[in-house]
Amino acid sequence: MEITLNHYLVLATILFGIGLYGVMRRKNLLMLFFATEILLNSVNIGFAAISHYYGDLTGQMFAFFVIAIAASEVAVGLGLLIVWYKRHNNIDLDEMSLMRG
């Protein structure tokens, strides 16, 4: 049984779907961040698989940059979340959707 590129792409699709389901479902912002990490990781699997099957290193390079972006996203996002939590004492998405000027 040969594992082809399509196997990996289907797996990346499934993981992307799981992440998207989490993004749409979650109301807690911390859990929403977890779901976005799943999205980024599923894309990385696709990049690494294409890089392997086409013998090209560009896919792996992009995976590195995605990881760097994910790391900075976590730092800034958690900082903002801490500021919000100190001010409002919750991190609920529904509370944030109210625009009180």
Binding site: M31, A48, S51, Q60, A75, V76
Partner: protein, 187 residues
Amino acid sequence: MFEAVSFYLFAFLVIVSFWIAVTTSQALYALTALAAGMILISGFYFTLGADFLGAIQIIVYSGAVLALYAFGMMFFDTTREIKEKNPNGLIVGTLAVLATLLTIAIVAAPIVSQNIVAFYPSVESVGNTQQIGLVLFTKYLVPFEVAAVMLLVAMIAGIVLAGKKMDVSLTKMAEDEIEEHKAQELN
């Protein structure tokens, strides 16, 4: 044969742990399942011959990112049950599947039509890490530097945002001092 076994085993484990991470109502379970999934994903990278990427996945994701999340969880009251309002799980699930298929179709259509030529073909004689060094520090040097600046900006932003009022330490104060401090903040 072994490649197939490892692929299906890792795929099953990753899907299960990520499914737990998006569906559980306990923040700690979600964090643990996410950490397990991240480490298992590095198994794919090692199978695909991307050794350096697998090591980076374990160090950066499972080490740094999830440690940061665990650190952030200490700030929030995560012991209480997380409220999830689900008016219709079916609609959300259908939307997720449809949007995923659309995105993958758009991105993967040029790949499937098989007219892609390798820009930087991998060299067989040297290892994966050496190849990455060769490509990263020649062809991708500018994006690499930009990523470094971006990480610096993110670090400063994190310090500025989270480090407000860090000069007062509540743990070193006595009980009455804390009360006094809170009363001062309220005024």
